[in-house]
Symmetry: C2
Subunit: 340 residues, 2 copies
């Protein structure tokens, strides 16, 4: 895998999180479903942003969080995602480039504005999320820079995109081109409801185009309509070269050919906010994977990255993750895989 | 495996549990280490029994609990274990035969009395255990009825016996004879400290004589001096035909050739007393195994049996476990392997 320009190129929904404090009365007044993530249209996004208190903007988006994590670890990453030519678009592009990710997807110049997720944080630390997809719905095959795809070790695809027909085409094209160029194709299932809507297509994708699958427990159960985790585990084994199944406090199970690894979660983490845990796991896993690490080490670094992200607000790492990775990759620690 | 007289013949320490209520002051007065299991001599056993309140005798012993569980499930089992020709010996032999287990090891007629475990239950429901091994230390090769061994599908050996040189010889003889007769040899590691004392011998046994290994997490970590569960898992995989690794509330991991199954614990169990959980797991597992069930089903029935036993005081099942087994074996339930 030497000589490739990028470790990972990702394709995903480019979203800016807008985080502000709010009291419960505000949620009630504006009919916001507490603790939930709801999709909203442009008018609602403008209106709700108007009633929001002073906020903090943080670039988000699942696959974008993953490549940000890979870059934070010292990996080389590119990102393909659609913002609009507006201020939040500028924020998104600034942040992802500032961390060292190559990103030059042309912004949308008319029509929809940049996707944003308005996050109302109540005094109990719960989050109520209102997502406007905006410009990201316009991502299409023409946005996929095939030079990046073929110059990567791994292409990482976000399942959320499957809801948009043109984005779906973009992902399929990228997967086919990657396979032809000997680039590993990686997919995160993203969301159990999304899997439910497109089960047959995802199954086909997983069986025929995906080398490295990421899924959490509800997603993999949904994919195979399995009653138990073990049943889903047995089903997915022959379908992918590598599968990393995350289980929250139960850690993860990593499948790789004949190998099966049961990786315990990092113990003793004071969980503040689980948003981005799966994205961070994928970052750690793929960083280790593209360095030729064995599957257990990939899973351990995934677990360590997830633990870092859930220990604070925000979906991107804040600690010195290079130091954490050095510990895991050198075998100096069993973080991410200790038993009790 | 048809035509064998017994599904399982077990060899273990034949112990009667004596359970009585006690207050904390009594523990302090007599210097009993609360919550611990301590080995005591005959004089201490007599003295402590004298100060015990009115008690309830229940046959115990790890492997004996397992064959009792197999018999409760409807399996055919034999037990080889040494009691003395005294009243507690009568209790032990009565109970194990009453549940349908074949047991005719000649009792010790002079010297040591029947092994007992004095269990002081304080008002907080904690147990303080004082174990006198007595007659069971005299189990020797002459007690192993080789006709039972060769007439079984599986021989089940209790690691605790390894502390006694003659019992160790008895186990080794049984294992060698079983192998020659095409009988599967199964071992439970029993105790991490015991594993620590005889690591090399256990490793040799596991690699060369054991087909089906049972171990909890601390035991398997001790056997391989592994830092993580996954490390121990990878080490044991090539050593045994089948290994069932139990992890308390994390369920179990079952290895069988190329297969690896991650079986979740039965959820929602109100844990009263975990004594005998591993014994009951082995009972469920071996009952299913000797009926030709696949490894995942064996692990699920193990989990269901463990859940039954930890839901009440006492190490042997009380519920209608035949009905539970019928559910698991028919696939009508995912009990023992449900996801959340």
């Amino acid at each position: 895998m030497s000589g490739r320009r990028f470790d990972v190129t990702a394709i995903g929904n480019a979203i800016v999180d807008v985080i502000a404090a709010a009291d419960d009365a505000l949620l009630v007044t504006h009919g916001l479903r507490k603790d939930a993530m709801s999709l909203i249209d442009a008018a609602a996004a403008e209106r709700l942003y108007g009633i929001m208190g002073p906020g903090r903007e943080m670039s988000g988006g699942s696959a974008a969080n993953t490549v940000a994590g890979i870059a934070a670890l010292g990996g080389r990453a590119a990102y393909i995602g659609k913002v609009a030519d507006d201020q939040l678009g500028d924020v998104f592009m600034h942040d992802i480039r500032a961390i060292g990710v190559t990103c030059d997807t042309p912004p949308l110049t008319e029509g929809l504005s940049t996707a944003r997720c308005l996050i109302f944080v109540t005094p109990d630390a719960h989050r109520t999320m209102q997502t406007f997809l905006g410009a990201t719905t316009q991502l299409g095959p023409e946005d996929v820079n095939m030079d990046y795809i073929t110059a990567s070790r791994v292409v990482y695809l976000e399942g959320y995109l499957w809801d948009q027909p043109r984005a779906k085409k973009a992902m399929r094209d990228a997967a086919v081109r990657a396979q032809a160029a000997g680039v590993k194709v990686s997919l995160t299932l993203s969301d159990a409801f999304c899997v439910d809507r497109f089960r047959e297509e995802f199954l086909d994708l997983v069986q025929h185009h995906v080398d490295i699958l990421f899924a959490n427990e509800t997603e993999i159960l949904s994919l195979y309509q399995a009653a138990t985790f073990d049943e889903a585990l047995q089903r997915v084994r022959p379908h992918c070269e590598v599968a990393a199944l995350t289980r929250s406090e139960r850690g993860s199970v990593v499948l790789s050919g004949e190998e099966v690894h049961v990786i315990d979660a990092v113990p003793g983490v004071d969980v503040v906010d689980t948003t981005g845990a799966g994205d961070a796991y994928a970052a750690g896993f793929l960083y280790a994977y593209t360095r030729g690490c064995d599957p257990a080490t990939c899973g351990r670094l995934g677990g360590v990255m997830a633990a870092e992200v859930i220990g604070h607000y925000g979906a991107r790492p804040e600690a010195d993750v290079k130091a954490l990775a050095a510990e895991v990759l050198s075998g100096r620690t069993t973080r991410g895989g200790p038993s009790r």
